[in-house]
C-alpha cells in the first residue's frame, strides 16, 4: 500500500511540474532565416568518420572554395558560412543533424549533403518546411526526376543510371563478345547502377553472367571477387564506393583474373586508382574505363596551363593546406560550390529561399572552371539535372609506370 502511495505521489509531482513547465509553442515563421546583409549560413551533412569517411573531402573542398569567395568580398557583400556535420553515414543521424541545422542554427539552405539514403531521409522534411535542399551529393535519379513533387530539392551530378547506361551502350557497340560480371553495393545505389547498365546494354543484358552484392558494413570483399572470377567473365563492372573499388582491383589481381574493368565514377578518383595500382605493381588497373565530368587534379600534363586548375590549386594551398590536392572529390565540391555561388548571384541582391530555387531552375553556365571544357551546367523548366554531359575515360599508364585517366571519344549526353 505504501509503495502505491509513493508512486501516486511521484506521478502527482510530475503532473504538477509539467503543468507549470509546459512552454508555449514558439512561433518560428520569420522571413527566410540564415541570411543577413553581411552573411549567409548554409549547412549540410557528410560522413567525416566511419566507413564512408573518404567523402569528407566533398564537404571540405566546398568549404575551402567558400572561404576563397569570402576573401574576395563574398556574394553581394555577404560572406558564406558553410556548417557541415558528421552524420557517420547513418541516415537517422542525418535527420537529427538536419533538424539541428534548420531549427537551431537556422540555416538558409541545406547544401551538398551526401548520400542517397541520407538525402532521401530529409527530403520530405525539408520540402514540407520549404527549406532548399541544394545540390544533394548523390546521383540517384529521383533527385533530378521528381522535382514536381519535391520543388525544394535539386541534385548536381549526372544520374547513376545515366552513367552506367553509357557503359552499356559502349559495350553493345564495341564488345559484342562481352561476358559481364558485376560487383555492387547491396542497396539502392548499387541497384540503380545495375538498372542503368541493363538499359544501356539493351538486348545484350543477357550477357550479365553474374552479380555479387556486398553490404555497406562489410570490411572485406575477397569472397565476392573470388566468386565473380569463377563466372569466367571477360568484363568486370565495379559499382561500389571507394574503399571497395580499391579492394576489387587488388583481389582481382591476386586471384589472377584479367577482365576488362569498368568502375563507376563515384569510386574511380585517380588517387584511389593510384592506391589500387600499388605503385604500378598491379597491372589490373591499366585500361580500366570510367566516365569523367570533372577536371582530374592528378592529370598535371593535361591541365598544366589551365586557369581552372590553377585556381583549384591556389584555393587548396591557401584554404585547405592539409588536404590532398590530388583528391578529385575536392574538385567535385568546388564545382558544386561554384554553381551555388552562381545561383546565389543570379537570385538578386536580396536572395530569398524561393528566389534561389527559381535561380537553380534556370541555370545555364559554361563558366564552371572545375568541369571539363564543354560541360554546361544547365537546368530548365522540365530539367533538374544540372550536369548531364560526361566523357568516357581510360586509365592509361605511361612508360615510367605513372597512370592517369585519359578521356576519349566525344562529350556524351547522359540519358536521364
Amino acid at each position: 500500500m505504501r509503495r502505491t502511495g509513493v508512486l501516486i505521489g511521484v506521478i502527482g509531482v510530475f503532473a504538477a511540474a509539467l503543468a507549470l513547465a509546459l512552454p508555449a509553442a514558439h512561433g518560428r515563421e520569420t522571413a527566410d532565416p540564415g541570411i543577413t546583409r553581411t552573411s549567409i549560413l548554409i549547412g549540410g551533412t557528410t560522413p567525416l568518420s566511419g566507413v564512408a569517411s573518404a567523402y569528407a573531402s566533398v564537404a571540405r573542398g566546398a568549404e575551402a572554395y567558400f572561404k576563397y569567395v569570402n576573401a574576395r568580398g563574398g556574394v553581394n557583400g555577404r560572406e558564406i558560412t558553410y556548417k557541415y556535420l558528421d552524420d557517420q553515414y547513418n541516415a537517422s543521424i542525418t535527420v537529427q543533424q538536419t533538424r539541428q541545422l534548420v531549427q537551431q542554427d537556422q540555416v538558409f539552405a541545406i547544401f551538398n549533403s551526401l548520400g542517397t539514403e541520407h538525402n532521401l531521409a530529409i527530403r520530405d522534411y525539408l520540402n514540407s518546411i520549404r527549406v532548399p535542399q541544394i545540390f544533394a551529393a548523390t546521383g540517384a535519379r529521383t533527385f533530378g526526376a521528381d522535382f514536381r513533387k519535391y520543388p525544394w530539392t535539386i541534385g548536381y551530378q549526372p544520374s547513376y543510371t545515366g552513367e552506367t547506361a553509357i557503359y552499356g551502350r559502349w559495350i553493345q557497340k564495341n564488345k559484342k563478345n562481352a561476358r559481364i560480371a558485376i560487383l555492387y553495393q547491396n542497396d539502392d545505389y548499387g541497384k540503380e547502377l545495375i538498372n542503368g547498365l541493363r538499359k544501356g546494354l539493351g538486348p545484350m543484358s543477357s550477357r550479365i553472367v553474374m552479380t555479387q552484392g556486398y553490404e555497406v558494413t562489410a570490411t572485406d570483399i575477397q569472397s565476392q571477387i573470388a566468386r565473380l572470377k569463377t563466372s569466367r567473365a571477360n568484363t568486370f563492372m565495379i559499382f561500389a564506393t571507394p574503399r571497395y573499388s580499391i579492394q576489387s582491383f587488388i583481389y582481382a589481381n591476386r586471384l589472377g583474373w584479367k577482365p576488362r574493368i569498368f568502375v563507376n565514377s563515384v569510386a574511380s578518383a585517380s588517387n584511389l586508382m593510384e592506391i589500387a595500382s600499388d605503385a604500378g605493381h598491379n597491372k589490373r588497373v591499366n585500361g580500366t574505363m570510367s566516365i569523367q565530368f570533372l577536371k582530374d587534379p592528378t592529370d598535371s600534363t593535361r591541365w598544366a596551363g589551365d586557369a581552372g586548375m590553377k585556381l583549384y590549386r591556389q584555393v587548396m594551398k591557401k584554404y585547405l593546406p592539409r588536404g590532398n590536392a590530388n583528391d578529385v572529390f575536392h574538385v567535385y565540391s568546388m564545382a558544386s560550390a561554384f554553381s551555388f555561388v552562381e545561383a546565389l548571384r543570379k537570385a538578386g541582391k536580396n536572395p530569398t529561399r524561393s528566389g534561389v530555387m527559381a535561380a537553380l531552375a534556370k541555370l545555364d553556365s559554361k563558366k564552371n572552371p572545375f568541369l571539363i571544357p564543354g560541360v554546361t551546367v544547365k537546368t530548365g523548366r522540365a530539367d533538374r539535372f544540372p550536369i548531364e554531359q560526361v566523357q568516357l575515360t581510360r586509365w592509361t599508364v605511361n612508360r615510367k609506370g605513372d597512370g592517369r585517366w585519359v578521356r576519349f571519344g566525344p562529350l556524351q549526353r547522359v540519358p536521364s
Binding site: A17, A19, L85, N90, V95, E117, V216
Partner: protein
C-alpha cells in the same frame, strides 16, 4: 547494497528526495532549453530507456548482451509499420503482402507498448537458447543478432522499404503527432507545444513509467532472483530459483525496454532504416550501462548523457575556433573522433571504475551512513 539498519530510514529519505528532484527536474527542464536542445534530450531519454532494460539483464542478472541494438531495431520497425499502416506504406510506394497485419495506421503513442511487447516476445525467445550460453559465448550469440537483424529487416523490401527504410514524415498525416505542423495541442492544459518539446515529454514520460516498473520488478522477489543468478548460478539454483524462467524473463523484460526505446526512436527521428541501427549501437548500449554502473538505476541518466553527448561534444570540438590551430587540424583528421572517444572512455572507466552509480554512492555515503 546492504547498509547498517540505522541508516535505512535516512537512506530511503535521501533516495525519495532524489527521485522527486529528478522527476521535477525532468518536467521543468524544457523551460530552460532551446527547442532543439529539447529534441536532444529526447534522444538522451531514448538511450536512458534502453539502458534501464539492459541494466536489468546485464547489471542485475549478469548476462552480457551485445544485441540490444537489434531489439531496438525491431521495436522501431514495429512502431513505424503500425504508424504508417497500409495507407502510409502505399503512399511510400511500397506494397506489403496482404497477410501482414500492419493495420490502417495507428496513432504513434499506442504503438509504443505494442513495439515493447513484440520486442519483449522476441527477447524471450532469444533468451531460450541463451540458457545454454554463458559469459562471452552469450555475448557473441547476441552480437550475431545485432549484426544480422538489420540485414534481415532490409530484405522484405515491399514491407520495410529496403535500405532506405521507412520515412514516416509526410506519409502519416496526423498519426505522427506534431511532426508536420510542429505544434501539438495538449487538451488538458489547452496549450500548443512544439514537436521537439512533445517528443521530449513523450520520451521522458515513458522513461519514468519504465523506471517505476523496473523499480517494482527489481525490489521484489524477481529482483532478488536476478541478483542471485548474477552472483552464483549454482547457489541460486540450489536455493530454488528457476534459472530457466528468470533468465528468459530478464531477457524478455530488457528486450521490451529496448523495443520501447526503438519505437520512440522511430517517432523522434521520423524514420527507421537498417543504417539507423548499426552494430555499434549495441556496443554503445553496453558501454552506457558500464559507465552508469552495473546493477543500479541511479547512474543510468549519466550513462545516457554520456552516450549522446560524447560524440556530439567531440564533433563540436572540431568546429572552427574552439581549438588552437594545430589541434584544430588534428581534431579534423579522419579517425580522430573515434580515437578521442576511446581515450575518454578509458579515462572515465579509470576514474570511475564502478560507474557513475558507484561515484554517486560514494558521494552520498557520508549522508546515509552518518546516523
Amino acid at each position: 547494497m546492504s547498509r547498517p539498519s540505522n541508516s535505512l530510514l535516512l537512506g530511503r529519505g535521501v533516495r525519495l528526495a532524489g527521485v522527486a528532484a529528478f522527476v521535477v527536474g525532468v518536467a521543468i527542464l524544457p523551460r530552460f532549453l532551446s527547442d532543439f536542445r529539447a529534441s536532444e534530450f529526447a534522444r538522451v531519454g531514448i538511450f536512458f530507456i534502453a539502458l534501464i532494460g539492459l541494466n536489468i539483464l546485464t547489471g542485475y542478472t549478469g548476462q552480457i548482451s551485445l544485441g540490444h541494438g537489434a531489439f531496438m531495431a525491431l521495436g522501431g520497425y514495429t512502431s513505424a509499420l503500425l504508424i504508417a499502416g497500409r495507407p502510409g506504406l502505399e503512399l511510400a510506394q511500397l506494397d506489403p503482402p496482404d497477410w501482414i497485419p500492419v493495420g490502417n495506421g495507428m496513432k504513434d503513442i499506442w504503438t509504443i507498448p505494442i513495439a515493447a511487447f513484440v520486442a519483449g516476445l522476441f527477447g524471450f525467445l532469444v533468451g531460450l537458447p541463451a540458457l545454454r550460453l554463458r559469459g562471452l559465448y552469450l555475448a557473441l550469440a547476441t552480437f550475431a543478432l545485432a549484426v544480422s537483424l538489420p540485414i534481415v529487416l532490409r530484405e522484405p523490401e515491399e514491407l520495410t522499404g529496403g535500405t532506405n527504410g521507412l520515412n514516416l514524415f509526410g506519409t502519416t498525416d496526423d498519426r505522427l503527432t506534431g511532426a508536420l505542423d510542429n505544434a501539438v495541442h495538449i487538451p488538458v492544459l489547452d496549450r500548443d507545444i512544439t514537436f521537439n518539446d512533445w517528443t521530449y515529454y513523450l520520451v521522458w514520460t515513458t522513461a519514468l513509467i519504465g523506471l517505476a516498473i523496473a523499480w517494482f520488478v527489481l525490489r521484489g522477489r524477481s529482483g532478488r532472483a536476478f541478483k542471485a543468478i548474477r552472483d552464483s548460478e549454482v547457489a541460486a539454483a540450489s536455493s530454488g530459483v528457476s534459472l530457466a524462467s528468470y533468465k528468459t524473463l530478464a531477457f524478455g523484460i530488457s528486450a521490451a525496454y529496448a523495443g520501447a526505446a526503438g519505437a520512440l526512436f522511430a517517432i523522434v527521428s521520423t524514420i527507421v532504416s537498417p543504417g539507423s541501427f548499426p552494430v555499434f549501437l549495441s556496443i554503445q548500449l553496453l558501454i552506457g550501462v558500464v559507465i552508469a554502473g552495473l546493477g543500479s538505476l541511479g547512474g543510468l541518466v549519466f550513462g545516457a548523457l554520456f552516450l549522446y553527448y560524447l560524440p556530439v561534444g567531440i564533433q563540436e570540438l572540431s568546429e572552427v575556433g574552439r581549438l588552437p590551430d594545430g589541434l584544430q587540424d588534428a581534431a579534423k583528421s579522419p579517425g580522430m573522433p573515434s580515437v578521442i572517444y576511446g581515450v575518454v572512455l578509458i579515462l572515465v572507466l579509470f576514474v570511475l571504475p564502478r560507474g557513475a552509480a558507484g561515484f554517486l554512492r560514494r558521494l552520498l555515503s557520508p549522508l546515509t551512513n552518518r546516523l
